[in-house]
């Protein structure tokens, strides 16, 4: 422990040097912007800025890039809450209850809770990263394709708890999402599936065009289709801060979201977006008033927003301790280290202690900066709601299209977003929820890959999923969840019958 503190002191010495501090700040600022802009997420932001870091030293480069990564998680909630556009993919869940809170005049509270939740989750998970990185990383490596498959299946079963309305409808939407996720090159045989000769479809339908279309563009269409335009809100200053009750309801979700997010984040190859979905489902399950979810529940903002921030720090565990990427973003950051002649690997902590501990310390500093940066911005951002819809909505459409195009510079992506916007509008008109589509589309390729990898490992023997203890445990939890879900739906079925009976009685009298 004393050694850790000593190392941390070394780290703060590095991180608080004006040169490094400046880059941490720039990273956080760019990250917030990247997060606020719809579509452009941390991967695009980091990729764009990677070449610019070649002229810096390794510590500054990595501090800058990490700042963008976790900064984007803070910024991503803003447009989700204010306009129902996910600023980056991991904020999809925040769109649901965050936007509902905004419609009830609690936009300021939602933004503030998202910022504080992100801060708590970010800081706590850096503590975990600092103390537990090497043992956790070795554990994470043992999670192979079968464990990943079991975990992803668990994520899918979570759907049973996600929607407010009919379970049948949300399962139908998830199935649609899974189908959309099948588009693209078959990872095991190299076949192009459902690409219709469009080379760009080889990579499948991107999450960004899908989410921006289904949420952002669809919302614009839904509002435009209403006979009377929605009232322009006049947020008042005293309404900006969360009430005591809202704080109380957020504490638990923030704590649980942090733990869940961190654990999911360390697993190599998992999708960090799942952290926010799982957190949402857990909060709904634990809530005394599950019916509030989807109608502006504070816990539905606090949990997922904390989870996606904690997942960011979790993702650094395998990267820093072992030099292996847990996802595309750490992979780009590993490349940045290699460009500077630092070979990332198990010896990094010994060979470059100033870099490692400086990086850890800069994450503490960065999270603090982001809190200070974001809380005052709440007051600024809610003013967006004052803008008349005639001006705001065209601007949203422009931002959506720009954001989607910026990710890959692909016009095909823009068309996908437009098509998804129309689809999302149709589904909203028919009272379907669109979040399960996004979850399905994200999970499908991962689920397929890990399933088929597992079978390739075992040469087609299905027992691999139950003979590995971790995979078996995860699957057992999944089955349990499914049974619980079924019980709820049977119970709801009774409610429905009772209600019908009551209604009939009402008709007779």
């Amino acid at each position: 422990m004393a050694e850790t503190l000593q190392n941390l002191a070394l780290g703060f010495g590095v991180a608080l040097a004006p040169g490094v501090l400046l880059y941490a700040f720039v990273g956080c600022l760019v990250g917030t912007l990247v997060g606020v802009l719809p579509g452009v997420g941390p991967l695009a932001g980091i990729s764009l800025l990677l070449p610019a870091t070649f002229g810096l030293d390794a510590t500054r480069a990595i501090v800058l890039l990490a700042g963008i990564y976790y900064g984007a998680m803070y910024g991503g909630s803003t447009t989700s809450i204010l306009m129902r556009i996910p600023g980056e993919a991991a904020s999809v869940m925040t769109c649901i209850d965050g936007y509902e809170m905004a419609r009830r005049g609690r936009a300021g509270a939602a933004l503030a809770i998202a910022a504080v939740g992100s801060f708590v989750a970010g800081t706590l998970s850096v503590v975990a990263l600092m103390l537990l990185a090497p043992p956790l990383a070795n554990f994470a490596l043992r999670l192979g394709p079968p464990e990943n498959f079991a975990l992803l299946l668990l994520g899918l079963l979570v759907l049973a708890y996600m929607s407010g309305g009919s379970m049948l409808k949300s399962l139908a939407m998830a199935a649609l999402g899974l189908l959309l996720g099948m588009v693209g090159i078959d990872p095991m045989s190299g076949y192009f599936r459902f690409a219709y000769g469009v080379v760009e479809l080889g990579d499948g339908i991107g999450v960004v065009p899908l989410a921006v279309g289904l949420f952002g563009l669809a919302e614009v269409l839904v509002t435009a289709g209403k006979a009377t335009p929605p009232l322009v809100q006049q947020p008042r200053l005293r309404e900006l801060l969360p009430s005591r009750d809202e704080w109380r309801q957020s504490v638990g979700p923030i704590g649980r979201g942090t733990l869940l997010g961190f654990l999911i984040g360390i697993i190599p190859g998992s999708a960090h977006i799942i952290a926010s979905f799982v957190s949402y489902a857990v909060e709904r399950r634990l809530s005394h008033r599950p019916e509030e979810f989807g109608r502006g529940a504070v816990a539905g903002v606090a949990g997922p927003e904390s989870a996606n921030n904690a997942a960011t720090s979790g993702a650094f565990v395998p990267m820093l301790a072992l030099g292996v990427p847990s996802g595309p973003i750490p992979a780009v950051m590993l490349a940045a280290l290699m460009v500077h002649g630092v070979s990332p690997g198990p010896l990094l902590i010994q060979q470059a202690p100033a870099l490692f501990w400086g990086f850890i310390a800069s994450m503490y500093v960065g999270n603090f900066m982001l809190l200070i940066l974001n809380l005052p911005l709440v007051g600024l951002f809610v003013n967006v709601l004052r803008v008349p819809y005639g001006l705001l909505y065209p601007a949203i459409v422009v931002l959506c299209v720009l954001g989607v195009y910026a990710v890959n510079g692909s016009i095909v992506d823009v068309w996908i977003a437009v098509a998804m916007g129309v689809l999302g509008w149709l589904l909203r008109m028919l009272q379907f929820e669109t979040a399960p589509i996004v979850l399905g589309a994200i999970l499908a390729p991962l689920l397929e890959m890990s399933f088929r990898q597992s079978l390739a490992m075992s040469d087609g023997y299905y027992g691999i999923f139950v003979t590995r203890p971790l995979a078996a445990t995860l699957l057992a939890v999944g089955v349990l969840l499914l049974l619980l879900g079924l019980r709820a739906s049977i119970a709801r079925g009774l409610d429905w019958r009772e209600r019908l009976a009551l209604a009939e009685k009402g008709d007779q009298s």
Partner: protein, 329 residues
């Protein structure tokens, strides 16, 4: 620009070309050059393209910018260069996948995104042989033991790769073919995840570029058994090559080269070759490649064409040997 205007421009360019080959309308280069990296930032193509562009900018005294045009395992970016105007202002930084993608397209009977004939090779920049690594606690101490064990238990020893028909997959297939063994392939979504799978004990072996696995060899987690190169890897002088061990068919390099669209005028190509030759001698470029631990191997003109043809032959044969996956069972 409308399609009509572009037709006019293309026609104009043809006329200008016909009017007089020698009388160039403008000295090359006189405006910014774009070097397309068909993979995302942080990958081998991107990390090679950026120092190449910076050095070429100095030697040609003309701006050179890198553009990442990604998608479909590189096919999107390569296709865009293949169909761009052959004037030397749009270049491609390609990896060996340039030979693999058209062959895989052919295998599946789909219209090819591009063909190798659509490119004019300019110069090879780097070539790094892959090396065979296993975990230290695995039973195989030498490549010989590995191959003997594999021939005793066909299809039992597994390896991870960066993806189906990807470079790391092809390297292993060439070895399997040369040594007459059968290994079990578990594709992953990139070289990073493939390494993670080996370290985590989910597969038994991996063919990898040396730079990525060196830290793990040094820390004692992985053991290198043999290399696919013509000669040994400088950082691993004790690790033999498959060629030395009697498997000359197992030759494979992760290479990066610069290409122009076919039809680029010879004087322009000559100017680019000259510029690249000077660029690889640039001290900043050398320092950048040193940090990546990637050896500079420069070949141009005929020499590069021969290397490219031999490599393409090995790879297309490899793709055909692998064939379509589902036809195997």
């Amino acid at each position: 620009m409308s399609r009509f205007a572009s037709i006019i421009l293309v026609l104009g360019a043809c006329l200008a070309g016909a009017a007089g080959g020698a009388r160039a309308q403008e000295p090359f280069p006189s405006r910014p050059i774009t070097l397309v990296a068909p993979f995302p930032p942080g990958g081998v193509a991107d990390l090679t393209a950026r120092p190449v562009a910076a050095a070429l900018e100095r030697t040609l005294k003309n701006p050179v910018g890198v553009v990442n045009k990604t998608g479909a395992a590189g096919a999107v970016g390569m296709q865009s260069v293949a169909t761009s105007k052959p004037d030397g202002y749009t270049l491609l930084l390609a990896l060996s996948s340039i030979s693999i993608i058209p062959e895989a397209d052919k295998l599946f009977g789909r219209p090819p995104a591009f063909t190798v004939d659509q490119f004019a090779p300019i110069a090879l920049i780097s070539a790094d042989p892959t090396i065979l690594v296993v975990r230290t606690e695995s039973p195989w101490k030498t490549a010989k033991e590995f191959i003997e064990d594999a021939s005793k238990k066909p299809g039992q020893i597994s390896y991870s790769s960066s993806g189906i028909y990807g470079t790391l997959h092809m390297a292993m297939e060439l070895l399997s073919h040369a040594a007459g063994i059968k290994l079990r392939h578990v594709p992953h979504s990139g070289a990073g995840p493939a390494l993670t799978a080996l370290l985590g004990g989910h597969v038994d072996a991996l063919a990898s570029g040396p730079a990525v696995v060196l830290p793990h060899i040094k820390s004692g987690k992985l053991r290198a058994l043999a290399g696919w190169g013509e000669s040994r890897v400088a950082a691993l002088p004790d690790v033999p090559t498959f060629k030395e061990l009697g498997y000359p068919g197992a030759e494979f390099y992760i290479w990066a080269g610069v290409f122009a669209p076919r039809g680029t005028p010879e004087p322009v190509l000559a100017r680019l070759r000259e510029g690249l030759r000077a660029a690889v001698a640039d001290p900043d470029f050398k320092a950048a490649m040193d940090k990546l631990e990637t050896p500079i191997v420069f070949k141009q003109g005929e020499e590069f064409a021969r290397f490219f043809a031999a490599d393409a032959k090995r790879l297309t044969d490899g793709v055909r040997t692998v064939g379509k996956i589902e036809e195997k069972k």
